[in-house]
């Protein structure tokens, strides 16, 4: 009897082992627990949607069209998207499902980003504690096959209230992949980070942006109001693309863009060229130029030239980001010139264990500014390192912990700090 059991066991083991070998050579299709849960959630949502629709259909008078599932206003459906009368009843989906995939205009999608932070440093006079980061709402709505709207609104906690700010508001016309024209307020296409992560802390690996492109900072103009053309450049495997913009430039408060008008009768312009070589999927190389005339005080004018370059490897094993910028100022009256430099190098690696939830990272950043530059008065020299780790709690929320060691200013003591953040999208 024991031998029979042993043989049966051997048979079962052999069969299962041999069968288990076949997926190893082919793409694995065994679902993970998470993907199965996702799938169940998706199907449950689907059932709820269908039941809702059925209820609405029953409640609505005969002949009333169904409301869209997504969001807001009354949709206009592209006639081409409706399947012809030849659709077979044998198919395992309803016309409702087909309707879900039709493009509707306008079709507003809203996504939110938020973060909660804790900081503690050994800097004299600093106070440790929690703070509510930014609450950000992102709006995207195709208005037709060729026209889309994008918006970004932030709510930032202030000592007495919340500051509401329109970070981006863009309406874009797509002629084709090579030419897209838009108007509005942008994040200046200068370098990589500023147009890659915007105000979504959850999207970036680290807790904060590098100081050279900090929101509210003055080293680089982070916002830009005007007109922009962008697109791909026919270049085969080089994968070239461009952004060219013309706008108001910085306002008299250098950290702000000229949302309500230009501070002087002079347009700024920006040009950005990047390459995403098809042979090295994940690699991006970029170079940018920005030109403006600054008027921080009436009667004082400075020419500004910013040149920047970036190299990034966007895959997470490893992730590599590096940017460099040189800011050149020239006093129109005295012809004095000043050059300031800044760069950062960030390296991260998504660890393969525990469902790839852990991502340690390191960033070094540097800023140097001539002491007598009259325009960048709030910019301090910086040399700092950041060590941290990001843990993705779910697909839509992450926890980050950082240690920073940095020196701001010349001959100032180094400051150590511990920072924590939970960042999410909803």
């Amino acid at each position: 009897m024991g031998s029979r059991c042993l043989l049966s066991l051997l048979f079962a083991l052999t069969t299962s082992m041999l069968l288990a070998q076949s997926p190893a050579s082919a793409p694995p299709t065994e679902p993970t627990l998470q993907s199965l849960l996702d799938r169940i959630q998706q199907l449950e949502n689907r059932i709820n949607q269908l039941e809702d629709r059925e209820r609405r259909q029953e409640a609505a008078p005969a002949g009333t069209p169904l409301a869209p599932e997504t969001t807001t206003p009354a949709p206009v459906t592209t006639p081409a998207a409706v399947p012809g009368p030849t659709a077979s009843h044998e198919d395992h989906f309803s016309t409702g499902e087909i309707r879900d995939t039709e493009r509707r205009f306008p079709s507003l999608q809203i996504r939110g980003f938020g973060d909660v932070d804790f900081s503690a440093t050994d800097q004299k006079g600093s106070v440790s504690g929690f703070n509510l980061g930014q609450l950000v709402l992102h709006l995207a709505s195709p208005l037709s096959e060729k026209v889309s709207y994008f918006g970004e609104i932030s709510f930032t906690a202030q000592p007495t209230s919340y500051e509401l700010s329109v970070e981006r508001s863009i309406i874009r016309y797509d002629y084709n992949d090579y030419f897209k024209l838009s108007f509005g307020k942008y994040h200046t296409p200068l370098g990589y980070w500023n147009t890659a992560f915007h105000h979504g802390a959850w999207l970036q690996t680290t807790i904060t942006r590098p100081e050279m492109i900090q929101f509210g900072g003055t080293f680089i103009p982070t916002h830009f109001v005007g007109v922009e053309a962008e697109g791909n450049i026919p270049s085969g495997g080089l994968g070239l693309g461009y952004n060219v913009g013309l706008g108001n430039g910085r306002s008299s408060i250098l950290s702000k863009s000229g949302d309500s008008g230009d501070s002087n009768d002079n347009r700024s312009w920006v040009a950005n060229l990047y390459a995403r070589p098809t042979r090295f999927y994940g690699l991006q190389l970029g170079a940018s130029v920005y030109r403006d005339k600054l008027t921080p005080q009436p009667g004082r004018n400075f020419e500004e030239w910013i040149t920047a370059a970036d190299v990034v490897w966007t895959k997470e094993k490893p992730e590599f980001l590096a940017e460099y910028a040189n800011v050149h100022h020239r006093d129109v009256l005295t012809l004095n010139t000043w050059d300031s430099q800044a760069f950062y190098v960030q390296l991260a690696y998504r660890l393969p264990w525990q469902q790839s939830k852990w991502k340690p990272y390191y960033r070094y950043e540097y800023i140097h500014k001539p002491e007598d530059d009259p325009t960048l008065v709030n910019v301090l020299d910086l040399s700092g390192s950041t060590f941290g780790v990001r843990y993705d709690i779910t697909n839509y929320a992450a926890f980050k912990g950082e240690y920073r060691n940095s020196r701001h200013g010349v001959n100032e003591p180094r400051v150590n700090g511990a920072f924590f953040q939970t960042a999410f999208t909803f």
Partner: protein, 177 residues
């Protein structure tokens, strides 16, 4: 004691019975393997076809071009025909192949990629999710500019199957499987 000694030193009759059982079990397992292995192989080795709307002005794409389309970096087939991406819901084999071969991303990275893509204003919409190959077939022939990945044995007449790197599904060297 006799019982134990019989186990340790089985008689010829018992030995013969065990061998018979063992040989039958082995024969049965070989038979099972012969029958099941091709089924298992069939599940994993069927090529995944790149299918487009019949009016799409294209017949062949390189792998990098397929990637560019599915990354949302190429959004128009021609100025009047926008690309409409259709992708199977999670757990489907076609989705696994697309994520592994084209995107080279995990499910979480894929979701983050499209959230970021829309957030960057680089695309107004994410790929549309389809729940079956039947649905993919139907939609890809109904929506101008649509492109989908469908198990090649499930592709229905009327759909236009693209060559990838000059090869059709089933041909040697076809890269999507």
């Amino acid at each position: 004691m006799g019982h134990f000694s019989r186990l340790r030193l089985p008689s010829d009759t018992h030995m013969t019975t065990h061998w018979k059982f063992a040989s039958r079990a082995l024969a049965l397992s070989c038979l099972c393997l012969t029958l099941l292995q091709p089924l298992a192989a069939q599940r994993h080795d069927v090529d995944v076809a790149v299918v487009v709307h019949p009016d799409t002005p294209i017949t062949n794409l390189s792998m990098s071009e397929v990637r560019k389309v599915f990354l949302g970096d190429r959004q128009y087939w021609s100025p009047n025909i926008p690309v409409v991406l259709l992708i199977r819901a999670p757990v489907a084999r076609e989705r696994d192949v697309v994520l592994k071969v084209i995107y080279q991303m995990s499910e979480a990275q894929f979701k983050q990629y499209w959230i970021a893509k829309i957030f960057r204003a680089e695309s107004a919409t994410a790929p549309k999710v389809v729940y079956s190959n039947d649905m993919a077939n139907q939609l890809v022939t109904a929506i101008p500019g649509a492109i989908a990945f469908i198990d090649s044995k499930d592709v229905k007449p009327g759909a236009k199957v693209l060559r990838v790197e000059g090869r059709l599904p089933g041909e040697a060297g076809y890269p999507l499987r």
